[in-house]
Amino acid sequence: MFKTTRRATLALLAGATALSLSLTPARAADNDIVIGGSLPLTGVFAFAGLAIEAGMQDYIKIVNDAGGIDGRMVRMAYEDTGYKVDQSVAVYNKLTSQDEIHLYYGDSTGFAKTIAPELARTGEMIMGGASFASELNNPEAYPYTFMAGPDYSEMVGILLEYIAKETPGAKIVLVNSDTEFGRDPIEPTRARAAELGLSIVEEIITPPGAADVSTEVLKLRRARPDYTIFHGYVLSPLQEFMSQSRELGLKTKFMGTFWSMDSSIWNTVGDPADGFMGVMPYRYYYDDAADAPMLAKIREMRPDYQATGYMQGFLSAMLMVESAKRVLANGEELNGKTLKAAMNTIEDFDTGGIMGLPISVPGNSVPVGRVYQYNAGAGQMEPVSDWISLQE
């Protein structure tokens, strides 16, 4: 009879580890085009990682069902990072030593900045990702990076554009979280607001996990702004801000940026969320506009609501595939330089309605978006502006 001793258990563990290591499937050097991904499937950002993965996989499926790129199938190789930079880099190294990768999706600003020197050194790939950091929107410093939407400053820029049109000379309060993510657009926002004749009457910085915002709400009451723009949060503490301000009878309109614009997170808040506005670069899952055939297709593939991260992943995969297509059509080799050059040739490109305008990618970003407002009754985000492009 086998006795479970400590030694036997240890031997068993060691054996299992050795077995799993030796049985790692050795991937043949196939002809697939591989999109690598450091995705946050666990941890604080897992909700986005899971949605992004689904979006990318679906677009890849559409491409493969249509015969792939030039007969070559597209495949995704990705692993969990827990939204930690050192793990993202580990995944990057693991995937690149297993497969030939020219397209990559990274999960954070920190990772994008950390891996940038390596991208420049190898020159093998272009990288998109979940970060819209303004710093990355600089083709000189980050030649192989792109983002499938406007950067954070451009997002706030789109909101300012809307405000200037609706309420000329409006008073604005900025509320930002005390993180790299949160502080990102403050400087450019000040400059742009001044240009548009809007006045920023107060800037509030909160700690990232702040739960008690009563003192900040009092500041808001003193400032009496027409609009309050949040950036650097997903949900909390936006709902506290909104319900407390409502109790004080403030008339300010609350606005947010991409990561706090998913309608399913506001559904959990319910009525106090009614009227929340913000900028969104993509159409929502339930948008049945006539010029959005891709959304009809998505609803066909996934009968349930898909979060905003899904659209972001979907469009990222679309831009990657389109660039690879153009490179191969030119008979060139896939690498960072050719792919980025091909991406920059994308002009008036039809996304099938994911974005409401034909898009161009002259630099690292796609500065297009639309202002939406949350309707608590319907549980949906409804457009209140036309599509706004900061290009030209």
């Binding site: 240890l10 290591l21 969990d80 030593s97």
Partner: protein, 347 residues
């Protein structure tokens, strides 16, 4: 079977490697470390470098917590100080990187002394809270002292240069990181053959008795903080050259918990404990990736479905080791050694 090691002098008795097998194994280890970069691919080389950086930081913390008995949850903040110092020197002064590393350790050690002052009045959990406070204060400084730290954006670090060669690949960096680690670990092991190290242990075992024995607590407690912070600073400096960008979010509070967990799992108060603990904490999540991958053919969409399981298994393993081996992984190594030493007799 070794029945005993006869020592003929105090020198031999205090030597680092006292038996023949120890010497042979150490030689084999050094040979393996030298050949590693030639056999490993980038992924494993990356992990090896990351692991060795963690080994330095964990060994430093082990000196403070494991050997001197001063619980600290500020080790990551001291790593950050070292990293920022190196990044700043690289940007502003352009001094040679080895000097930067030493200065990074030095600045960190100086701050360590300041943070260590409360240890003269508070012990245990209270001291842990004091060090947490210090790490939050340091985080605030990193965010707001923009002219030096670059605020939230942080500092991009130029690659280390060695005789005109830029160390940008993991292969190149390994030849810096590994020797520094070996040196630091050797230093730590040697420390406990000296009066200073033995004073640390005396303070851990009973500080009042230590003082009665003539060990000035002020001097030695602060010295322990300084040494631990120096280790953290050097580790942080290597980290800066390894990742090439330092931001306030590079060294979160959880990294301190990670290091404390490493020495607890590895074995507090043993040099080997810091090493195997750091190895366990760094490599286990990665090895579990292979288990997930291995299950891939049987579980559709394995990476998405099993990633949370991976985190749970990692946690369960830590708890398992604490329950079944409270002395840490180092104790398992000791047991294996005893087994072979007495073989074929039962231990």
């Amino acid at each position: 079977m070794i029945i005993g090691t006869a020592k003929e002098s105090y020198r031999a008795d205090a030597a680092l490697l006292t038996t023949r097998p120890q010497q042979v194994w150490t030689a084999i280890l050094l040979a393996v470390l030298t050949t590693l970069p030639f056999v490993l691919n980038d992924y494993w080389l990356y992990l090896t470098c990351l692991l060795t950086i963690n080994v330095i930081a964990a060994t430093g913390l082990n000196i403070l917590t494991g050997f001197t008995g001063q619980v600290s949850l500020g080790q990551a903040a001291f790593m950050a100080v070292g990293a920022y110092t190196v990044a700043w020197l690289e940007r502003e002064a352009g001094t040679p990187f080895l000097l930067n590393l030493v200065l990074g350790g030095g600045v960190s050690a100086a701050l360590g002394i300041v943070v260590g002052i409360p240890s003269l009045r508070v012990k245990g959990l209270y001291l842990a809270i004091a060090t947490i406070a210090a790490s939050f204060i340091l985080h605030f400084v990193f965010v707001h002292w923009e002219s030096v730290t670059g605020g939230n954006t942080g500092i991009n670090v130029a690659p280390a240069r060695f005789f005109g060669v830029e160390l940008t690949t993991y292969f190149g960096l390994y030849w810096v990181i590994m020797p520094v680690t070996v040196l630091m670990v050797l230093g730590a092991a040697n420390l406990f053959r000296t009066r200073i190290g033995r004073a640390f242990i005396a303070i851990r075992d009973r500080d009042i008795s230590a003082e009665v024995l003539g060990i000035p607590l002020l001097k030695y407690k602060l010295m322990s903080f300084a040494i631990a912070s120096f280790y953290a600073g050097v580790a942080g400096g290597l980290w800066a050259y390894f990742f090439r960008v330092v931001t306030p979010e590079s060294f979160p509070f959880m990294a301190s918990v990670f290091l404390l967990a490493a020495i607890i799992v590895g074995g507090m108060g043993t040099i080997i404990g810091g090493i195997v603990g750091a190895a366990f904490m760094t490599l286990t999540p990665e090895l579990l990736r292979f288990v997930v991958e291995w299950l891939g053919p049987w579980v559709p969409n394995a990476a998405t479905l099993l990633s949370p399981v991976r985190t749970i298994v990692f946690g369960a393993l830590i708890i398992g080791f604490l329950v079944f081996e409270p002395q840490g992984l180092a104790e398992i190594i000791q047991r294996v050694r005893r087994f072979f030493r007495l073989w074929p007799f039962k231990t």
